[in-house]
Amino acid sequence: MTDTRPNDAHRPRIFLVEDHAVFRAGVRAELGDAVEVVGEADEVEAAIELINERVPEVVLLDVHLPGGGGHAVLHGVLPHHPEVRFLALSVSDAPEDVIAVIRAGARGYITKTISGGELLQAVYRVAAGDAVFSPRLAGFVLDAFSHPTAGDQSDTVTTGLDPELDQISPREREVLRLIARGYTYKEVARDLTISAKTVESHVSSVLRKLQLSTRHELTRWATDRRLI
């Protein structure tokens, strides 16, 4: 994993929301000088207050938090400061948690096993307005969108669904599949002979669909399903 960091002088201002002090210290050490950490919090209330006060560019948000979970922070901040971007971090990978934070407005989701370099990449990407998908999240999306008839079909015949938002395009599917296989954006771009920028726009478009789709399966899938 040797994707180069953008070498402009800009250091994104980030905020850590995470209830394990050890992990916070670890993230601080890993990101080092490349970012400016403007604050940290270990529970929902404090996080909402501090983020609204300091308005960082990127919030690294633990999915599991005492006092309401990660999506409560999103609900407390985004109405006031829609420009703040959230990158969700978790260890658990429970689909309902992940889908909940993404639906609440997080711009990306990564697991805590990610390396320092990759974490920084993800932070830059989110700061630039792009979406960040971990392989696991890509898998979730493929699962939720690819197998619409996995359950019973009776209640999926809902009216008022926007078909555009209701399915992902073949190209988006290809991109997600490669991400799920563990490819970086760069490798995805090379494999599909498209530019890295196009990969990013595909992923962002999937994120948008994920957040706006009113599709029944998405939530039902997330709650029904217990992944390994």
Partner: protein
């Protein structure tokens, strides 16, 4: 000219011609089929080309191998009396059209037998996977369209036959010469019958021998995956007696389970019934034994069949290989259940290797991955280069192929070799 191994439908001849001349392959194919329907000779030419033109990068053609295949040649000769019988019947019915194409068609059939017997192993697997679904059209199956197709084809043939009979002989006089023909046919059967029987018996013996070899291959794969892998782990943990004892004990349990309970070592046990469950187990085992992270992403799930268990065994071997050789701390495993197939990718970002430079006697890739997948009609693609990491792509057909698998199993009877049955 060479037969193409990529864009091939049957033998890769049209694709080969297309590569050589630049003519669109679809046009060539349509041409071949159209002319073949009316003349019969293109079929013969196609079969001849299949024999003579070498495949892809192979150095020898099938013909050179077929010359040495005594039994195959005898089989072909055994068809000749059949052709004579056909000619007699045909001349009685005055349908010269059938008479004209019967020789080329029978010659082509003979050549096809030689091709089938002498094709290289991967090509045989392709043909098998292409042809068996066609056979299952005529077999008992739940598919409604199959019944319709079968009935339509049968009805068309019957109507055709009746029309030919009536056109040839408007009166019942047609039946008189048939009596003589039946006598001649009976004579041929009496003369050649015993010989045909020995041929069939020989073929059965040959098939048993092949099944035995296959079983030996499977056993080698199992021993490699369990015993040899454990020995390698023990060597590495030589200075850690506790770990050595743990590994040895685990291996002992596995071997006992294999020898006395018939449970294949390293395999996912019968208590696991779903694919996702099996992959989770695989992940835990490899992580525990090799101290690396296996990142699993799963899309969809389905019940485990025998072929999917083989897929899991192959995937485990690929993952273990990555753990042992790549040097990377993490391996990604992605599995997706598609309609008709399960795709599984094992990827690491380690040092990689040159797939062409692996010695042929290394069991890991050859037996444990490739042969295991091929046995159930699955395919393997390995992408790797020094410094680039490695990705193993495994594809195992399902659904439609489940019907295929049962059809094959009944056809070959002994072709489902399992670990040796427990000594009682």
């Amino acid at each position: 000219m060479r037969r193409s191994s990529d864009g091939r439908v049957l033998a890769g001849i049209c694709a080969g011609i297309s590569q050589k001349t630049g003519i669109d392959v679809t046009i060539l194919r349509i041409g071949f089929v159209l002319v073949g329907l009316f003349a019969g000779f293109p079929v013969l030419i196609y079969a001849l080309a299949w024999l003579i033109v070498p495949l892809g990068t192979e150095t020898s053609n099938i013909f050179s191998r077929a010359v040495a295949d005594r039994r195959g040649i005898r089989l072909v000769i055994a068809i000749i009396p059949l052709v004579i019988v056909t000619q007699i019947v045909v001349s009685l019915l005055h349908v010269s059209f059938v008479g004209i194409i019967s020789w080329p068609v029978f010659l082509a059939a003979g050549l096809t037998i030689l091709i089938w017997r002498n094709a290289s192993e991967p090509e045989r697997v392709w043909m098998h996977n292409d042809l068996v679904p066609m056979l299952s059209v005529g077999s008992e199956g739940p598919g409604r369209w199959k019944v319709i197709l079968r009935t339509t084809a049968g009805a068309a043939l019957a109507v055709g036959g009746i029309v030919v009979l009536i056109l040839g002989h408007p009166s019942t006089a047609a039946l008189r010469p048939l009596g003589g023909a039946l006598l001649v046919i009976a004579a041929i059967v009496v003369v050649f019958g015993p010989w045909w029987l020995t041929l069939v018996r020989d073929l059965m013996a040959e098939r048993q021998a092949r099944a035995l070899a296959e079983e030996r291959g499977q056993m080698a794969a199992h021993v490699h995956d369990s015993v040899l892998q454990t020995l390698a782990l023990i060597q590495r943990a030589a200075d850690d007696p506790q770990n050595v004892v743990r590994l040895a004990r685990a291996q002992e349990r596995e071997l006992r389970a294999w020898l006395f309970e018939g449970r294949a070592p390293g395999s996912i046990g019968d208590e696991v019934t779903m694919l996702a469950e099996g992959i989770g187990l695989l992940q835990r085992h490899v992580e525990a034994d090799h101290g690396i992270t296996v990142q699993v992403v799963m899309v969809g799930d389905c019940p485990l069949t025998e072929s999917l268990r083989a897929l899991l065994d192959a995937a485990r071997e690929a993952t273990v290989n990555s753990a042992k050789w790549s040097g990377a701390p993490q391996v990604s495993l992605y599995a997706e259940v598609e309609p008709g197939a399960v795709m599984l990718f094992v990827r690491d970002r380690g040092q990689g290797f040159d797939p062409d430079a692996v010695p042929a006697d290394r069991q890991g890739i050859a037996q444990s991955i490739r042969a295991r997948m091929a046995r159930y009609g699955g395919t393997v693609v390995i992408r790797s280069a020094p410094g680039e990491g490695t990705e193993v792509e495994l594809k195992m057909p399902t659904a439609t192929a489940t019907a295929t698998a049962t059809a094959t199993a009944t056809a070959t009877a002994t072709a489902t070799p399992n670990p040796p049955s427990p000594p009682k």
